[in-house]
């Protein structure tokens, strides 16, 4: 039932790009992206809503395909600070209170 993220883990060099995918089995109203650094709480990055509206980070972009119930997070020209575990948070069209997270993607950026 948790949205599935891919890849599970990725290692990059500084300056390289990465794409993280989130796929749900349920119809989604919105997708939210978070980054969690080791030993810390997840921190919000951006929201994507049905209809194409986006809110959030100015250096990270994302897409939301409502029909396929999928979202992708695009990290371009990665920096060391991008290292962490990325989660998609999802809300289905059926209600606002079940806010569930994807399986997570561990990203490590090397100098």
């Amino acid at each position: 039932q948790q949205p599935v993220q891919s890849p599970q883990a990725v290692i990059l060099r500084e300056g390289e790009d990465a794409v993280i995918n989130c796929s749900s089995s349920k119809a989604l109203y919105s997708v939210h992206w978070y980054r969690q650094k080791h030993g810390e709480a997840p921190v919000f990055l951006m929201i994507l809503l049905k209809g194409g509206e986006q809110k959030g980070h100015d250096k990270i972009s994302a897409s939301f395909n409502e029909k396929k119930q999928q979202s992708s997070l695009y990290l371009t020209a990665s920096q060391l600070s991008y290292s962490g575990t990325y989660f998609c948070g999802t809300e289905s069209t059926s209600g606002t209170y079940k806010y569930i997270f994807g399986t997570g993607t561990r990203l490590k950026v090397l100098a």
Binding site: Q2, Y29, S30, H32, Y34, Q36, E40, A41, P42, V43, F44, I47, L49, E53, K55, T85, F87, G89, E91, T96, Y97, K98, Y99, I100, F101, T103, G104, R106
Partner: protein
């Protein structure tokens, strides 16, 4: 001024004990959650409360009992702790509309020995 504060940060206890984790938010949010993050980093929803009312209970053992005395507080009491309860527990809150993000507490690392 911390938006979502969770205490304690670390909790080490023996099997069979009872323990509580407290969470408070000063954001005026209506909805609060408890999540469990296991060693594989999966973030699993446990409970969701809206305006002090339990909305979601994700088949969590009834040794776990959340309590919300008011909409700013959501505490988690765990009875008869087991080794498998060892994890990081996060409290989070969200506003009342679907375009709002979750704000997390710092997490409580529970270790059952």
């Amino acid at each position: 001024d911390t938006a979502v504060s969770q205490t304690p940060k670390y909790l080490v206890t023996q099997m069979g004990n009872d323990k509580s984790i407290k969470c408070e938010q000063n954001l005026g949010h209506d909805t609060m959650y408890w999540y469990k993050q296991d060693s594989k980093k999966f973030l699993k929803i446990m409970f969701s409360y809206n305006n002090k009312e339990l909305i979601i209970n994700e088949t969590v053992p009834n040794r776990f009992s959340p309590k919300s005395p008011d909409k700013a507080h959501l505490n988690l009491h765990i009875n008869s702790l087991e080794l498998g309860d060892s994890a990081v527990y996060f409290c989070a809150s969200r506003g009342g509309t679907r375009d709002t993000e979750a704000f997390f507490g710092q997490g409580t690392r529970l270790t059952v020995v």
